[in-house]
């Protein structure tokens, strides 16, 4: 059986010469929920953008058994649901419905199936009535939920979220944590919110300066205050 996610010896340097990833190794098994933590500039977002081939570095990335490469990008992007940090980047259509329908539409599904997927995804994030609303007028928490719905509609094998609780008030954050806990998908979530990590993710990967510096059960990691301090984290 294949892993949902396999990254081996991944290197990436931005065009301006900034070395963002220096040999990352990571694998995620089906059904696992993994947190990706690390200080700003550690390479978290860069790593996430490699998982569906938006950035292409040196090394090996496999998703659901498929190599992330030229022939497979369509399938890979269907398998990885990537939720961007800024929901305004993710929600680019005039209405919520059109945004959630975007992925299914480009997957070539029939109109009926697209409608069904949209309704299902909006229900899953607890916003079944939001289809006709204009994205600009949603609150921050609602935007996050709709952004998650846009990838749920593609029925991905793994959900990849970049700082989902950033900028949310306590109530919206609580609602989002509950939502993430309820979703059955495999998950890789980049975050600074270590209290959420403790609550939701049994396994934590720490990235610092483009390398994986720890990959262990969350409880054990959070107990090691010296290690956390060394990598700019606070439990």
């Amino acid at each position: 059986m294949h892993h949902t996610l396999e990254v081996h010896d991944l290197h990436f340097t931005y065009p301006d010469g900034c070395q963002a990833l220096r040999g990352v190794d990571l694998s995620v098994a089906p059904g696992e929920k993994v947190a990706l933590v690390g200080p700003n500039g550690a390479g978290k977002s860069t790593l996430l953008l490699h998982l569906n081939g938006i950035l292409r570095g040196e090394g090996e990335v496999r998703v659901a058994g498929m190599p992330v490469g030229d022939g497979q990008l369509g399938h890979v992007r269907a398998a990885v649901g990537l939720v961007f940090q800024d929901a305004d980047d993710q929600l680019f259509s005039p209405t919520v419905f059109e945004d959630v329908a975007f992925g299914p539409l480009y997957a070539g599904l029939t109109p009926d199936e697209v409608q069904r997927r949209v309704a299902e995804a909006l229900r899953a994030v607890g916003m079944p009535e939001a289809g006709g609303r204009v994205s600009h007028h949603l609150s921050g928490g609602e935007k996050k939920r709709v952004a998650i719905a846009t990838v749920l509609a593609m029925q991905p094998e793994i959900l990849v979220l970049d700082e989902p609780t950033g900028g949310l008030d306590p109530r919206a954050r609580r609602g989002l944590i509950r939502l993430l806990g309820d979703l059955p998908q495999t998950m890789l979530v980049s975050t600074h919110d270590l209290r959420m990590v403790a609550e939701l993710f049994p396994r934590t990967v720490v990235l610092d300066q483009g390398r994986v510096v720890a990959d262990s059960p969350t409880a054990k990691l959070l107990a090691d205050a010296a290690f956390l301090a060394e990598h700019g984290l606070e439990a």
């Binding site: 992007r77 990885v80 990537l82 305004d88 929600l91 680019f92 259509s93 005039p94 539409l105 480009y106």
Partner: protein, 266 residues
């Protein structure tokens, strides 16, 4: 904290609201063509076009003065035609005091006709925007074979205009928050910053807004790629062309064509 660049759409349940947006766009385009092609000085046909607009205002439940009240946004464009009375040769109508310029009769007629045409055309567009949700307009444009990239650009503009305006608002607030004056009595000189300096600050803000928008556009494109975007614009069918749509379009075409023929034949 949002700037509410007011949405022009006014929700309603009239039959005009329910018309297929494709039919509405064609109706408005034919109306604007008819108004533009009507010859100068065709006052009665112009009145006829206006009555058609009034009737649509009433039928759509917006009230008879709706489009007139909002039509003044186009007033500045009239300035472009303001020179006509004084430059077209012909019998003198009046002489402008102080300047001593003479306005000719044909020049004034041409000016008045241009103002009327603009005013009527703008009202038609206002009514279209007021009775059709913006996303439906985009959908209709793409179904009418309007070039896909253009429709996409208009769609993104509609979506991100608000975001960019919010960003500009935040930047202006940040500037205001730091535009403190030294307290009286501390010896610091009190003077207004020079106009050049203020201009430079504003220029820098525009520049950084542009850069931020560029960067955002790249992230948006990434987000589109991540969900399978392949360069084609796709959308679901929302409307089916019904008999009512065809009838409304036919009646409009007949009315516009009739009035145009009347205007030309006079």
């Amino acid at each position: 904290m949002h700037i509410h660049l007011a949405d022009r759409y006014h929700a309603g349940a009239s039959w005009i609201h329910t018309l297929d947006p494709r039919a509405k766009i064609l109706m408005v385009v034919s109306f604007i063509l008819g108004v533009s092609l009507a010859p100068e000085g065709a006052w009665l046909p112009f009145a006829g076009f206006f009555i058609l607009l009034l009737w649509i205002c009433v039928a759509s439940g917006l009230g008879p003065t709706y489009s007139v009240r909002r039509s003044f946004v186009a007033a500045p464009f009239v300035l472009a035609a303001l020179t006509l009375p004084f430059t077209v040769p012909g019998p003198t109508l009046f002489t402008l005091p102080v300047f001593g310029w003479t306005a000719s009769v044909p020049g004034t007629i041409r000016f008045a006709s241009i103002v009327l045409r603009t005013w009527l055309a703008v009202q038609a567009a206002i009514l279209l925007a007021a009775t059709t949700p913006f996303p439906d307009l985009l959908w209709a444009l793409s179904r009418l074979r309007f070039p896909g990239p253009l429709v996409a650009v208009i769609g993104f503009m509609y979506r991100y205009l608000f975001v960019a305006a919010d960003e500009a608002l935040r930047m202006m607030r940040a500037r205001t928050a730091r535009s403190a004056q030294p307290q009286a009595g501390t010896g610091a000189p009190r003077r207004r910053p020079s106009l050049v300096w203020q201009g430079k600050v504003t220029g820098n803000m525009v520049g950084s807004l542009f850069l931020r928008s560029m960067e955002r556009s790249e992230r948006v494109y990434d987000a589109m790629l991540a969900r399978g975007y392949d360069g084609q614009v796709r959308s679901l069918t929302h409307f089916h062309f019904r008999l009512l749509d065809a009838a409304a379009l036919a009646v409009t075409l007949a009315a516009v064509g009739g009035m145009l023929a009347w205007a030309v034949a006079r």
